[in-house]
Each structure stands twice: as C-alpha cells, then as structure tokens.
Amino acid sequence: MINITNLEKVYRTDEVETIALNKLSIEIKKGEFVAVMGPSGCGKSTLLNILGLLDDPDAGSFVFNGTEIAKYNERQRAELRKHNIGFVFQSFNLIDELTVFENVELPLIYTGVKASERKQKVDEVLEKVQIMHRRNHYPQQLSGGQQQRVAVARAVVNNPKLILADEPTGNLDSSNGNEVMELLTNLNEQGTTIIMVTHSEHDARYSHRIIRMLDGQTVTENILI
C-alpha cells in the first residue's frame, strides 16, 4: 500500500539544518498494523506527517496505492488525503467550537456526503466508540479518554484505508489508553491499515510489526506476528 524509498526531509532554520529523515525506506502492506518507535527527535512525527500527506518530502519516492505522489501539490494531496487517510493525535485536536457530533461529522462534510447519510454514519461510529450519549457535548466537557475516542471516531468515520496515529495514548492513563488501543485493533481487524507512533512498548504490542528509528533512519524491524 505504501512504499517509500530514500525519503529525505531537512528542516532549515536560520543557521541550523536538521536532517529529520535520512534516506528512509519503508514498505507497508494493506491491512498491516505497524508501530513506529524511537527516541525523541528521531523523526517519527515527521515521517507520519509525510505519510499523511500533511507535509512533502525533500527527496525520495513515495508510492501510495501504486501512484507516485512525492511531487503532488497541496491541492492534490488534500484531495487524496480526505478520501483515504484518518488521523489521531496525541493532543486529540478537536475543534472547541463544535460539538462531539459536529466534530465527527466534519470529514463527511468535506467529502460532500448528504446530511441524512452523515447523521447515520456519525451515529454509527459514535456508537462504536461508545460516546453516543455525549454527542451534543463540547470537547471541553469530556475527559481525555473520551476526547480521544471522539478523535478516533472522527478519523474513521469516512472509512479511510489508512489511519495514522501519533502517540494516541500519550496523554491518557493506562485504562483509557487500553480502550483506545482496543478500538484501533478492532479497526485493523476490519481491514484498515494502521501506522502508530508510540513510546510505549505496551501499546506497541498491539501491532504486527515494530519499526525502530534513530536519527531519521530505521534501525531494526521486529515482526510480532
């Protein structure tokens, strides 16, 4: 599904040049659940952002579903993103001015789904993440675990083929964290490809394969199943 080769990303600030990704090559197959691990600053988030089409690489190739997209412009990337990729962040990133229902509804609005259909789909995923009873609350009125479940609901409501999660449990206690991991595992079992960055060995065990990174390169890969 994803095939990156010799991917490079360099951040340039006034004087410093940081090589965040250094000739990185990874292949991820459809239906996989991959965990990315590594010390702080090794380039995990950078990788995820590029995989998620939020950022573009400086060099290298990025083939997504058989298409080379490394040179896509912003509009093309946005188009591809909204139909194929869902995101879950460490800090939830819900819009404070919108209710739970409206937050989850958002991706459907942007892909142009009809109102009646939207309601049905949103209710369905809210049911799945067990947050239905809070559908008219605002994010600030929810606990961290609940907010992250809403974020997961939002990531999957569009039935994306790929979910990218950057430390989804980073701000959660272990029981809330486990709930979210169960959710992701379920989604994966239904066929969604998942790439997850995490610092937790415990969470990494939910995945099929662990990619370990250091200084913008992969060092080892552990295959768990």
């Binding site: 988030s45 952002n49 998620g52 939020l54 950022d55 912003e74 509009r75 946005a78 188009e79 993103r81 909204k82 139909h83 995101f87 962040f89 800090s91 990133n93 819900l94 819009i95 404070d96 001015e97 919108l98 409206e102 509804e105 958002l106 991706p107 609005i109 942007y110 892909t111 142009g112 939002r154 569009n158």
Partner: protein, 786 residues
C-alpha cells in the same frame, strides 16, 4: 457545508463577545457613514437626470472678457429664446425661466406666500414633470392660468378640488388653476410651488427685447440628431449680429448632464465645481468603510493563534484551502450583514440631522428594488473586503506547524497589521489637521473687520404698501423711539445686487473695464449702518437738497478712479451725473473671504428695495422688533411682517465653510472612533498574548508603569509614523483648499503639533485601558495558565 460555516461563525461571534461587538459596531458605523455619503452622492449625480429628453436639453451660456478675465455666466437676454428658435433650424424649442417671484397669493380673505416662476409655455414639454391633473399642452395656454404642485394645492385648498379654482395674485389679477403637478423631486434645480406663463410677465411690462439685459435663463431643446458642435460654432457670433453693446460676447449651449456638477468656469473653461465635492466625498466614504474593514482584518488576524488550530484540524480532516477561504469569508459576510442591518438603523436615525447639515432631503427609497439590490451588494462587498485578507491569511496555515505547536507569531518590523493601523491613523490625523485648519480659517474671516456696525441693525424688504408709506413708517419708527436712524438702500448690506463697469469719470482710460459694486441709499446711510468716513460726509437730504444726486465712494473706488482729491468730483452712471460728497472705508459687501471691490453708493435718485433700521439700544430688542411689526403692519396690512438682523444675515456668509468644518469634524470624529475601536481590540489581544511575559516580568520586579508603557509603546510608535505620513498630505490638501480664499490664514506649525498631541492622547487613552489592566493582573494567575 454552508450551514456548518454559519454555525461556527455564529458560535465564534457569541464566544468572543467583545471582539464581535468591536467589529460589528465599527463596521456598522463605517457602513452607515458610507451609506449616508452615498445617498448624498447619488442625489448629486442624479440631478436633473430624470428628464426624458435630457439628451437634448441645454442651457444657454455666455462667455466674455471682464477685467481681463474670460468669464462664463448663464443669464441671457430675454429675446434670446425667440431668436434661437427663429435662426437655428436645429432648435426645437427654447424656454425661458425667470427668477423666482414671490407674489402674494390670495384665496378669498386668506393670503399665502410661495415660490413660483414664470416660464414659456413649452416648459412642461421640455422638462419631465408629471401631471396629477390637467395636461402639459393646455396648462399654460392662457395668460391667467397657474399650475401648482400637489403640496401647494393642499396648502391653498386643503382637500378641495383645486382645478378651476381662482387665485388672486398681488391683489390685482385673478388666475385659474389649470393643472396640478407632482412636487419636484429632491434632485432638480426646478423647485417651485407654482408656475405661471411668461405672457403674464409680458403683460406686467417686464419683458424686453434688449440684448444688453442679461436677465433670464434660457433653456434649449435641440432636435434629435442636431449637432451641438455646429450650433455652438454658430452661437459664437450671435451677439455680433444682434448685440451692438457687446458684439464680442460669445454664447454657447451647455448640456444638462453637466449643469449640476461641472458648471464652475475659469478662464472660459470648466474647472471643478461640485464634482470635486462628489469625488472628495467618495474618497472619504471609501476610506471610512475601509477603516472599519481594517478593524476586522486586524482583529481577525490578531486572533489567528486561536484559530490556527481549527484551521489545522479542518485541513487534516479534508478541508481544502478553498473551502476554508469560503468559511472565513462567510463569517465576515455574516458580520457585515449584522452590521449592515445596524447601519440602516443608524442611517435612518441620523438622516434628519444629516439632511439639515447638507441642506438636502435625502431618504432611503425602500420601495425601490435597486435600493435592496444595492444594499445586498454593499454587504457582500464589505464582507469580502473585510474578510479577504484574514481568509487568505488564516487558510494558508500549514497543519503540520499549527498542530505541533511550533506556530510562531511574527516578530517582523513591518507586519500587515501595523501597516493597517498606520493607514487608519494617517487618515484620522489628516482629518484632524484639516478640521483645525478649516475652523481656524472660518475664525479668521469672522474676525475680519466688516467695515460697518452690524450691531442692532436690521432690514426689511420694501414690499406692498411700504414704498407708498415709507416716510410715515420711518417717522413713526423714529418718533416712537424704536429706531435711532433709518435709511433706504438698493440691497441688503450683506448682498451685492448690482455691479457695473459702465461708470465714467474724468480721466478714465478707454479700455478700463474696472467692475464697481453699485449700491444706493437715500439718506443718513453712514449714520445708520455705521460706515467709517475717511473724507467728506454722509448723505443728508435735509441739509443739502442736492444730495439726491450725491455719491459716496469707497477707498478702493477712489484709487481705481485715480482721484487725488475726490470730494466735489463728478462721475456718470446710468446716464446720470453724481457728485462725490464723501469717501468711506471699504466694507465687506459680499464674501468675507475676498478682497473688497471698488464701490459707489448713489444717492436718493437711485432705486430702492430695502429699508435698514438702526434700533435704539435703550429698549430691549424684542420690544423694538414688536413695535416695528405693529407700525409696519399698520401701513402694510396685506403682507406678513418679515425682518432680518444684518448680523444673522452676515453669519450666513460662512455657511458653506461652516458646513465644510462640521463635515470635517464629523468625518474626523467617525474615523477616530472607528480606528480607536480597532486599537482597543488590538490592545486587548496584545495584552492577552503577552500575558505570560508580563507575569514573568512582574515576578522579576517590573512596575505597573513600566509594563503599561511597554505595552503602549508600540502603538504610540505607530501613531507617530502615521503623523509623519499624514502631515505633508494634510498640508498639501489644506494649502490647496485655502487657495480658494484670497483672505486666508497661513498654515502654522502649532496646528500640526496640536494634531500630533491629540492623536497620541487619544491612542494612549484607548490602549492604556488594557495595558494597565494587564499590568495590574496577578502574575500567579497568568503563569499558572500554562
């Protein structure tokens, strides 16, 4: 999607109430000002543009050299109309419209006053004035017919049928109402209560065939497809054929589309006119609106840190840049819509005052679909202008950056926000400086020595039986102790009704065309109005019975005539000889902004329209006026008593400038208000975004004053930059404005200092509220928020 935008726009509005309030009130005031000005502009540019034949209507003008200058004017000989019809096949018809007359109109025992014109019978054919009753063909056929407006019909006859009714004119002639027309709209020069046929003027013996008497206006309707250029070429030599006095004078036709806005001529060419005001007002309207929009831009982008996260998330879940731009524009249009509704309310409330200020009858025509179309367009336009920059700014955020929290506020020296604040204050300071200069100029001219004593001096027009009973009235006023001195004059002291270059004197050069103001007075003029005599004496008919042919000269006249010893000299005017008995100091007859002209005041053999009364200051003024009314009423019972103080009349000479001053003050006030609203909002956000820094500084020992000045310093710097930009612009604008007035102030440096101090003070007060509040806040609180 649209509903979603509206929802979030609405919630944003409610969540940031103070932000919304600032934006909405600023925009509402800006929009209201723009709408008011637009109403004014619309009225001006639509002047007399509703006549169906407007493409063929012209006014006859003259062009001739006076005092070495090529001048243009639009009064014509009365014979011109028939001559044009006779000589020019291109002319379909020519219509004369004489000066408004103020006949006494009576119905039975009741008397009325009104404004009317006498016109040629094709008047209603040329100009589109809708008939309510009667028709344009027959309305002015008979000499004793009169056409009245709907409102005047109501005044005269109440709810009775006006058609066929009789109106007595000046107690002699009976007129029959032959038609009722709609009231004149608020955008025409033809404003009247009644119209009478020219044939009546003829019957009264006021028509003449004399080419030298430029005494009426002549309007011309050309045949379709007639060439203006060719007819104007022929009109150049019209006077050569007919006018033996002024054969060199040229005539031309001036199109209706230019009457209102362009008819200011200099050196024989159009030069400015009302169009300059229209342009200036347009610029001011655009700027006021822009300044209000700038508030929105500034506050929206200042809040961008808050909204950056929303933008990031929306992009991550699939929003395109385009849809985000749509969303933000939607928000600004929503705000513009709310502001627009408020603006209409403000306009409606302030229209009476604005009408008074501009001397107009402006209104919003709610029944007109175009008004609504314009209004909706205006809201969309305002929303777009206000929202465009924030929309592009906000929608350009990169999600990776904002979501990771590396989103940085710019620390650049020149940011768009600063530029916009500078723009606002530049405009405000230009207006402040202009206001001060306009007021100074008025003050200066008001303090100019008039040259006579306006105090307790009043005048009334000699109407009805006053002429017949003049001596009786005068004696009774004097003997009753109401007045101390009385004189008859040709015109009010404040108005020049007559001027001439035809005065002859010993030693006058052949080509001397010096123009003299001509005035007449019968007796005791200098005593009554308080002229300052520099030589000779006042008119005194009792003592010197030859004084009926005496003349007084002002100092400029003596100079113009080159008299070494003017007393006893003889001059000729109007075929009469006048001997000089006195010389007086120049007084301001016309504009206090212009130099005085040479002037002759001819004695009792002249003609008289006005009676000047110097009241007795031993009585109180109300009692004086009351007893005058009783005496005048006794001898002239048919007319309502009308009476003016020269002082009040003199003050109207400043009306135009005072209006300019009031408008400048108003615009300056509005600009300052809107700009300060924006500054207030910006200060709030600056204080908020630096709350942590302030906390740290306080913990380290900074005082409230030092923090307040830290926060205010930036804004004051911007105001100073604005001042530097505004000063030369204001200087240039006002320098040019002052050139209109030969009697003018010079622009002093202190005006700029005053403007600088004022604007800094205003900005400081605006900013310091939030600065002090932030400085006083408990640092523990602000540091805990992270």
């Amino acid at each position: 999607m649209f509903k979603n935008y509206l929802k979030i726009a609405y919630r944003n509005l409610m969540r940031n109430k103070s932000f919304s309030l600032i934006n909405i009130s600023g925009l509402a005031v800006g929009m209201a000002s723009a709408i008011l000005i637009f109403l004014w502009i619309h009225n001006e540019i639509s002047y007399d543009q509703f006549h169906e034949k407007k493409d063929r209507i012209y006014e006859a003008w003259n062009r001739d050299v006076f005092s070495g200058k090529l001048q243009c004017w639009n009064t014509t000989p009365k014979v011109l109309a028939r001559t044009l019809e006779k000589d020019f096949p291109e002319v379909e018809s020519a219509v004369r419209v004489n000066w408004p007359s103020s006949f006494l109109l009576s119905i039975g025992e009741k008397n009325f006053a009104g404004r009317g014109n006498m016109v040629d019978s094709l008047f209603f054919d040329m100009f589109t004035i809708p008939f309510v009753k009667g028709n344009s063909q027959t309305a002015l056929k008979e000499t004793y017919s009169i056409v009245i407006t709907e409102t005047f019909a109501k005044t005269l006859f109440g709810n009775e049928e006006p058609m066929g009714k009789t109106i007595r004119i000046d107690n002699k002639d009976n007129f029959t109402v032959t038609a009722v027309v709609k009231d004149a709209p608020n955008n025409t020069r033809f404003r009247f209560d009644y119209i009478m046929p020219w044939s009546y003027l003829r019957k009264q013996g006021n028509d003449d065939e004399y080419w030298g008497n430029n005494s009426t206006r002549t309007y011309v309707l050309l045949k379709p497809n007639a060439s203006l250029a060719s007819i104007n070429e022929k009109m150049k030599t019209l006077r050569k054929t007919y006018d033996s006095d002024e054969p060199k004078g040229e005539m031309f036709l001036y199109p209706i589309s230019r009457w209102r806005l362009y008819s200011k001529f200099e050196n024989g060419k159009e030069s400015g006119g009302l169009i300059e005001f229209v342009r200036m007002f347009s610029i001011i309207a655009i700027f006021l609106l822009l300044i209000a929009c700038i508030n929105f831009m500034n506050l929206s982008t200042a809040r961008s840190e808050r909204r950056a996260k929303e933008v990031g998330i929306r992009k991550v879940v699939g929003a395109s840049k385009f849809s985000l731009i749509g969303q933000f524009l939607g928000e600004s249009i929503l705000i513009a819509f709310i502001s627009g509704v408020l603006a209409i309310i403000i306009v409606q409330l302030s229209l009476p005052a604005f009408n008074k200020l501009t001397d107009k009858i402006l209104f919003i025509d709610y029944s007109n679909a175009y008004s609504w179309l314009f209004f909706i367009g205006f809201i969309l336009f305002t929303g777009m202008i206000a929202g465009s920059y924030p929309a592009f700014y906000l929608s350009a955020f990169k999600p990776v950056k904002v979501l990771k929290g590396t989103f940085q506020k710019t620390r650049a020296l020149i940011t768009p926000r600063r530029v916009l604040v500078v723009l606002q204050f530049t405009f405000a300071i230009i207006l402040i400086i202009s206001t001060i200069i306009v007021k100074e100029q008025i003050h200066y001219a008001k303090n100019r020595e008039t040259g006579y004593d306006k105090n307790k001096l009043a005048y009334m027009f000699i109407v009805g039986d006053i002429e017949k009973n003049y001596e009786l009235i005068k004696n009774e006023l004097l003997s009753s102790g109401t007045a101390v001195s009385i004189t008859k004059t040709s015109a009010p002291m404040t108005q020049g009704w007559s001027d001439t270059w035809g005065i002859e004197w010993e030693g006058k050069a052949k080509d001397d065309k010096t123009d003299f103001d001509r005035f007449c007075a019968d007796d005791h003029l200098a005593t009554t109005v308080g002229l300052q005599m520099v030589a000779g004496r006042d008119f005194d008919l009792k003592k010197y019975n030859t004084d009926s042919s005496a003349v007084l000269l002002n100092e400029s006249a003596v100079k113009a005539m080159g008299f070494k010893d003017p007393l006893g000299k003889t001059i000729r005017d109007n075929g009469k000889e006048w001997h000089v008995v006195g010389v007086f100091k120049d007084f301001i007859l016309q504009s206090p902004f212009f130099p005085t002209k040479p002037m002759v005041i001819e004695g009792a053999k002249g003609w008289f329209n006005v009676m000047h009364i110097k009241y007795n200051d031993k009585n109180n003024m109300a009692a004086n006026v009351k007893s005058t009314e009783a005496i005048v009423k006794k001898y002239n019972p048919m007319y309502t008593f009308e009476h003016q103080f020269v002082d009040d009349e003199y003050n109207t000479k400043f009306k135009a400038e005072q209006r300019t001053g009031t408008l400048a003050t108003l615009f300056a006030g509005l600009t300052i208000f809107i700009s300060c609203l924006g500054l207030f909002g910006l200060a709030a956000y600056t204080a908020e975004s630096r709350i942590k820094e302030i906390g740290v500084r306080k913990v380290l020992g900074a005082s409230i004053t030092s923090i307040t000045s830290l926060l205010s310093k930036d804004f004051i710097k911007l105001v100073l930059i604005s001042f530097v930009i505004a000063s030369p612009i204001a200087w240039w604008l006002m320098y040019n404005w002052l050139q209109n007035y030969p009697y003018r102030i010079s622009i002093h440096w202190w005006i700029f200092l005053a403007a600088a101090l004022t604007s800094i003070a205003i900005a400081l007060i605006t900013v310091s509220y939030h600065a002090i509040r932030a400085a006083k806040a408990n640092p523990v609180k602000s540091l805990r928020t992270e």
